[in-house]
Symmetry: D2
Subunit: 434 residues, 4 copies
C-alpha cells in the first residue's frame, strides 16, 4: 500500500474514528451513503503509518467483535423455538449474532476504487500482527473468510501471459517470481518465448494483479536441470513438436491471500488447456526445488539410520579449516573434486529420496513443495543431480531438483492415498533409491 | 433453464444422487475433482423436469441441513472455553456447525460453465416451492445468502446500453422490461436514441445477463406523461441542451435475485455518472407508475374520511348499466365526458396524494414503488393527470403517474426521516393536495 | 448522406467555392491546413441540396480537369529525353500531368471524420449524373480510381456477423439485403442462428458499414428451395453434423463502390474459413436466383429453336381472358392446375438450362448472377423447380432457382475455360436438360 | 526481413520466376488465384539472400517496365480522338500504358499475411541499390508511389503509447529511438511516466509496427536541457499542473517509408489532442538537436564573416598537442576550463544562431531538423547552452540544443513565409544573437 504519509492515529483521533465506524455500521442515510463513508475510512487508513494502522485494526478487533451476551440470548431463543419454522428463524438469528459487526465494514470497503486489493493488502499487513495478538487473530479470521469467499476459484480468470501482455503487468512477474528470480527483461522475454507458456489467475476486480502464476517450458523429454531452461541463448523448440510440458516455477503473488488455495487449480487447468491446444504434449511434469533438504540434513537426518558413506556427507558439512565444504565440492568443476563429486552423488540422491518420501510432519511431507504436489495427486518421478547450481539451489538442496509427474488418470487415486494415509506415490526409479 | 428433457427422478435414483452429493461434500480426490462432480450433478439437475428438480432440492433441504446435535455440542464447547484464543476457536467452530453442509455443494456448482446463472435460475424455481415447505424455505435462505455475497454491489459493473450493444443482449431488454412493455425493435431503438440513456448492472460471471436496468430520457423540464417519451415520432432533443433526466422505467431482470437490492445503487450511480458527463443536467426525477392506487381506492379508501365528491368517484367505479365507468370516462376524449373528466381530475389527484403519503403498511408506504423511492431518499414531487392512458395505466392508477425527485443534498435527510419515522418528503404542490 | 438542409449553390457562391478549392490544391499553409480546408469544403457539400451538389461536382469536373497543353508539353519533353534516367523523369512528369488536379482534393476529403464513407456516398450520387454528362463521367472515373485503390482487397477485414453483433450494424443487413428481403428482426435472428453463418467485408475506416455480405446455411445435402431456409420455425441443425454450406444470399451494400469487385473474394475466403473451422463440411454451393430468365423467355426465347411444348409455354404467358397465366399456374396448388404444373415443369427446366448455359452477351452469360459465379469458377449444378414462389421469384424465373457449386480443385480450370472461351461448366444433370 | 536461408537465385531459376510473374500479371484463374501466386512469389523472395533478392528486383525493373511503343501508340490514339468522350477514354488508356505492369504484382503482394510490411521492408532493401541503378530507381519510384497511397495520413491511427502497452511493441521503441537512445527498460518506463506522453502513428495493416513516434514531457516552462528530461530519478510532475509540453524526440521507424511525410501531421495532431485533454497546457515546444552545426562550423563557417573571438573558436577545434579541444572544454567542469567555457558560450551561441537562420541549401535551412520544424510553421525560440553533453550532443552541436515553438495562430503564416521565400521565424531572443 502506497501513500503512507501521515501519522500514527493519536488517541484523540480514535474517538472520531469510532463515530465514523458507527455511522457505517448503522447504515445511516442508506447503504450507498454508508459505503461512501466506508470508502472515506479506507482512504483515511491508507494515509496512516504502520503504528496508526495497527491502532485502527485493534479498534476494529476489540470494539466490533461478537457480542457474547447477544450470542447467549440467541442460543436460548433457539433452544426455546418450536417447530421447524421457528427453529430456522432462530438459527438464522444465531448465525447473525455470531458474525462480528466489523465484517459489515470490511465488506463496505469494497466501495473503494480498488477495494478488493485494499482488503488483500490490509490482510498482508495484519497477518504478522495477528500472530502476536489473539484479538487481531480473530479479525484476521474475518478478513480471511471474506477473501476466501471473494476469491472462490469459480470467479477467477485463467489468462495466458505473453510478450504481448502490457509491460505494467509483466513487471509484476519480475517482482513476484519467487522460485528462480527473473534477472532482466531479456530473461523475462526468454520465459515468454514461443516454446514457453505462462498462465496466471486474475480476479475480475483486480485485473492488473496476478494472484498466482506458473511458467511452463515445452520440451522433449523431462527436463533434468534448470540452467537449460533459463539459458537465454538456448535454441527455441517448435512447440508443435514438443512432447513434454515442464512446470518450472509457480509463484503466489499476494501475501494477503495466504491460505486461499489456487495452485492446485492452476496446474490442473493449465494441463487441461495445454492438452486441448497441443495434442502433441504427452507428459506433464514439474521441475521443482527441494527447499527443506539441507536443513533436514543438518538437523534431523543425524538421528536417522545412516550408512557410513552417508555419515561422511554430514561431516563434509563442517569440514576442517581450509578444506572445501560439501556445497563447494558440488559447485566446483575441478578434476580432483569432480572425483569427490561422483562419490557424493550416490549417497546424496539416496538421502534426498528418503527426505522426500519419508520425512513427515504428521501425515504430511515435511518438504512444503513436496506436500503441495503430493496433495495435488502428483508422484515423485525423478531426482536430478546438479540441477540447480545457483547459491540458492546449493544451500537449499545441494543443487538437486525433483520432477513431480502429473499423470491425469492417477491424480485422484494418488490424492486419496496421500490425504487418507499419507501414502507417497513415486516412480520405480525413486523407489530404487530407498 | 432450458434443456428440460428428462424425467422426474424416481425414488431409485435418489440413492445414487445421495452418493454423488456425498462425494462432492467429502471433497474426495481433491477440491478440483469434487467441483467436477458438482458440475456433473448440476448438468443432471438441468435435464430433470420440475418434479424431478423439486425432489432433488428436497433431498438437499432435508438430508444436508444443519446437524442439531453437532450444534449443541459446539455450543457446549464454546461455553467451556477459557481465554480469548479458545473462545475464538470455539466460536469459529460453532459458526461452521451452523453452516449446512449443502452450502458447500451450492458453492461448488460455480464450476458449471454458467455456474452463477445456474444458481440464480435454481433459486427462481425454488422460491415458489419454498413458500409451501419450511425445509425448502431454509434451503432458499442458504441460496439467498450465497447469492447476496456473490452479488455484492462492489462486484457489479455499471454499463451503458446503446443501439451499438449486441442484439443478443438488447433482446433481453425487450424480454425483461416490466414497466412499459417494449413493443418492437423500433420502440427499443427509440428508447436508445441520442436523447436517452439506458444503464444496467452486470455481474462479471454473467456478462450476457443484465441484473437490473433503468431507462432515462433527457428532456427539458420534468416530464408529465409517458406517451411523449414513448412516441417514436417525437423529435430528438440535443442531449447537451437538456436540463432534466427522467428515470421512466426500472426493471429487475433476475427473479432468482429477489431480495438482493440493486435499484437504490443503480439510480444513484446513474445520477452520478450523468452529472459528471453532462453538467447541463440540473434535475433528476422519475416518472413512475402508482401500481396500488386503484386497488386501494376500491378497498381501503372506502373506510377513509371522504368528501362528497370523492364518494362520487367510488360510485363511478361500478356505474349503472349502460353508463361509462370511471376509467372509460378518463380514457375518452368526448366533449361531454371531458366535462366529467375535469370534474374527476381534482378529487382523484387529492385521493392519489392521500394514497401516496398516508396509506401505510406499518411505517412503510403501502405503494411499493413509492416505498422504493422514498426509502432511497427521493421526494414526491408532482402527481400527473392523464399521464398513462394505457389499459395498464388506467387500471392501476386511473391514468395518473407521479414524479419522485432525487435532489442530491436532501437524499440522506429524506432517507433518515423515512426509515426512522416513516416521514414522507414531498413538494409544496403535493402538500397542497392534501 | 444526411444533413441536406441547404440550398442549391447559387452562381454567386461558385466563385467563393473556386477560391477555396484553389487554396486546397495549392496546399497553402502546409498539407495539414490544406486538408483542414478540404474538410470544410466537404462539410459545405453535405449541406447542399442535390442541385447544389451537382453544381459543385460540375465545377470540379470542368475546371480541375487535366490540362491538355501541359500534357502535350510533357509528351514532347518525354520524346526529347535522352538516356534512361531522363526518360524516367519525363515519364513520371507525364503521369503527373495526366492526373487531374481535382484528384488531390478528392484525396484530401479523407480528412473528414468519415472521409472514406463521404467519397463512397459522393460517388453514389455522382454515378447517375455521370451517365448524362461526359465531364462528370471523367470525374466519376477519378473517384472510382481512388476508391478502387483504397478498397484493395488486401485492406479489407472479413468478419463474421452473429446475433451478438451490435444492433446498429445488424439493422444495416436488413437495409442492404438485396436478394431475399429480411422481413423482421425475427427473420434476421433466424438467419444468424446456430446453423447459419453470415460474413461481411469491412474497411478499417468504415467499421460500421458492411461492404458486401453473404448469408450461409449449414445443411445436409444441397438445398433445393429457399422457403425451407427462410422458415423461422424450421428446426436448427447441429452445425458440427452438417455436410453442406449453402450460400443463399450475397448483397453488395455500397452503391458508390459499383465496379469494385469483392464478391469473388468473399465467397472463396468464406469457403476457406468454413473449411478450416468445420471439417465436416464437404460441399459448398449457392442457392441462387435467376434474375433474367423470364425477361429472356418473353423476348429472345421466341427466336430460338423451340419444341412444340415449349411454344405452348410462351402462349401461356399471355393467356386468353379469364384463364390463369403461367405464373398463376405455377404458384397455385389446385389439383387440376397441379396437372398443368407437372406438364410445365419439364419444358421450363429445359428452357432454363438453355438460358443459363447458352444465352450470352458476347462471351459472357446473359444472366448476371450466372456470369458472376461462372467467372468465379463455379459450375451449374442443379436447377430447382418451385424453389422460390414469392412474387419476385415467380416474375424473375417462374419460381425456379439454381445451385452453383464451388468445388475447390476445379475452380481455376472452370474460371480459365469461361474467361478464355466462354465455356460453361455444368453437372451431367444439367447437361441432360439440354 | 528475417528468414534469409536460401541462395542467390541462379540464372536457371530466373526463367521459372519469369513464368510465375507472368501468371500473376495475367490474372490466370481469377484475381484470387493470381494473388495466391503472388503471395507464393513473396514467400520465395523472403528466403533469398541479398544477391538473390537484388536479381529478383532487377528482373522486375527491367522486364516489367513501361512498354514505350504502347505508350507512343496510346499518345497517337489520344491525339486522334474526337469529342470529350473519346478523349476521356484515350486519356485513361494512356494512363494505363504509363503504369508499368510490375505495379500490379507489387499490389498483389498485399495478399501476403503481412503484405504491407513486406512491401515496406522490400523498399528498405531496394533503396540503396536504387541509388546505383536507374532501372532499380524507376522500380523504387513505383514502390514509393504505392506506399504513399497506402500510407495516406487519412488511413493512419494516432495511438498513445503507455507503460500499459504490450511489451512486444514497447521493445520496438527501444529499437527505433533515433534521437536519444533508450538505455534500458527503466529508462523507457521513465519516458512513459505520468508526466510524459508518447504518441505514434500506426497503419491498420501493420498494428504491431509504429511508423513514427514522438516523446513529450509535460513540464513547467520550456526545458533547456535534455538531461533533466532523461533523469530517471527526477520527481514526477502532476500533469494537470504543467503548462508546457516539450517534444523532445521524434523518430521515424520504417526506412522503407522514407519520403512519406508523417512528422508534420504527428506534431500537430498531438498538439490538438493534448490541448483538448489538458487545457492547462499553454506552450508547445520542442527540445531539438542541431545535427549539422559542428560540420558546418568545420567547413563552411570558415568562409563566413567571423569576429576575432569566433575565429578563436575555430582554432580550438584543432588545438596544439596536449591542449584540450573545444568539446573537451565544454564537457569538462574544471574551474579553469569553466572560465574558458564561459568565454566560449557567447560566441558559440551566436554562431549557432547564424547557422540555424542563415545557413541554407537553396531556400531551405541547411540543418535538416531546422528545416523540418520551420517548414511545419514553428519558430526558433531559444538556443540552449550545455543542453546535451553526451558524446553525440557534443560532436553534433557542441552540446547546444534548440527549442522550436509551435504557436498555433502563427503556424500557417510561418509556413507560408518559409515555403514561399525561405523566411525564418524566430523569437526576439534569437534575433538578438545575430
Amino acid at each position: 500500500m502506497k501513500n503512507v504519509v501521515e501519522p500514527d492515529l493519536p488517541t484523540g483521533d480514535i474517538e472520531k474514528l469510532r463515530k465514523k465506524i458507527k455511522a457505517c455500521l448503522d447504515g445511516r442515510g442508506g447503504e450507498m451513503s454508508a459505503r461512501a463513508r466506508a470508502a472515506e475510512l479506507g482512504e483515511a487508513y491508507l494515509v496512516l503509518n504502520p503504528l496508526g494502522r495497527r491502532r485502527f485494526l485493534e479498534l476494529l478487533a476489540t470494539d466490533y467483535d461478537v457480542d457474547n451476551d447477544a450470542v447467549e440470548a440467541a442460543i436460548e431463543r433457539r433452544r426455546a423455538s418450536e417447530g421447524p419454522e421457528q427453529l430456522q428463524l432462530a438459527t438464522n438469528d444465531l448465525r447473525r449474532q455470531l458474525e462480528p459487526p466489523r465484517t459489515r465494514l470490511l465488506r463496505q470497503f469494497n466501495e473503494l476504487r480498488e477495494g478488493v486489493k485494499f482488503l488483500v493488502d490490509l490482510r498482508a499487513e495484519l497477518m504478522p500482527w495477528a500472530r502476536e495478538d489473539p484479538a487481531l487473530a480473530a479479525l484476521d479470521q474475518d478478513v480471511f473468510g471474506l477473501l476466501a469467499s471473494w476469491f472462490d476459484i469459480g470467479f477467477l480468470d485463467l489468462q495466458q501471459i505473453t510478450w504481448r501482455t502490457p509491460a505494467a503487468l509483466l513487471e509484476k512477474l519480475i517482482e513476484y517470481e519467487a522460485v528462480h528470480a527473473i534477472r532482466s527483461w531479456d530473461d523475462l522475454k526468454n520465459r515468454l518465448g514461443d516454446d514457453r507458456c505462462c498462465y496466471a489467475f486474475f480476479h475480475p476486480r483486480m485485473p492488473d494483479e496476478p494472484l498466482i502464476f506458473v511458467e511452463v517450458a515445452l520440451v522433449n523429454g523431462i527436463s533434468t536441470n534448470i540452467h537449460d531452461l533459463l539459458d537465454e541463448q538456448a535454441p527455441v523448440i517448435n512447440p508443435r513438436k514438443a512432447d513434454t510440458a515442464i512446470f518450472y516455477s509457480i509463484s503466489n503473488c499476494q501475501k494477503g491471500l495466504a491460505g486461499v488455495s489456487f495452485g492446485n487449480f492452476l496446474i490442473k487447468r493449465v494441463v487441461r488447456d495445454l492438452s486441448a491446444r497441443m495434442p502433441n504434449l504427452k507428459t506433464f511434469s514439474t521441475l521443482s526445488p527441494i527447499p527443506g533438504f539441507m536443513r533436514w540434513l543438518r538437523t534431523e537426518a543425524r538421528d536417522a539410520d545412516l550408512s557410513e558413506r552417508e555419515m561422511r556427507m554430514l561431516e563434509l558439512l563442517q569440514p576442517a579449516e581450509g578444506e572445501p565444504d560439501l556445497l563447494e565440492i558440488i559447485r566446483s568443476g575441478e578434476p580432483a573434486e569432480a572425483n569427490n563429486r561422483n562419490t557424493l552423488q550416490g549417497p546424496l540422491l539416496k538421502l534426498c529420496a528418503r527426505y522426500l518420501t519419508a520425512a513427515k510432519k504428521g501425515r504430511q511431507a515435511l518438504d512444503r513443495v513436496a506436500h503441495f504436489h503430493l496433495a495435488n495427486g502428483a508422484r515423485i518421478e525423478q531426482i536430478n543431480w546438479a540441477a540447480d547450481l545457483s547459491d540458492k539451489g546449493l544451500h537449499q538442496s545441494a543443487g538437486m531438483m525433483v520432477n513431480y509427474l502429473y499423470k491425469l488418470p492417477d491424480i485422484e487415486k494418488n490424492h486419496e492415498s496421500y490425504s487418507g494415509s499419507g501414502g507417497v506415490a513415486m516412480s520405480s526409479a525413486v523407489r530404487k533409491l530407498l
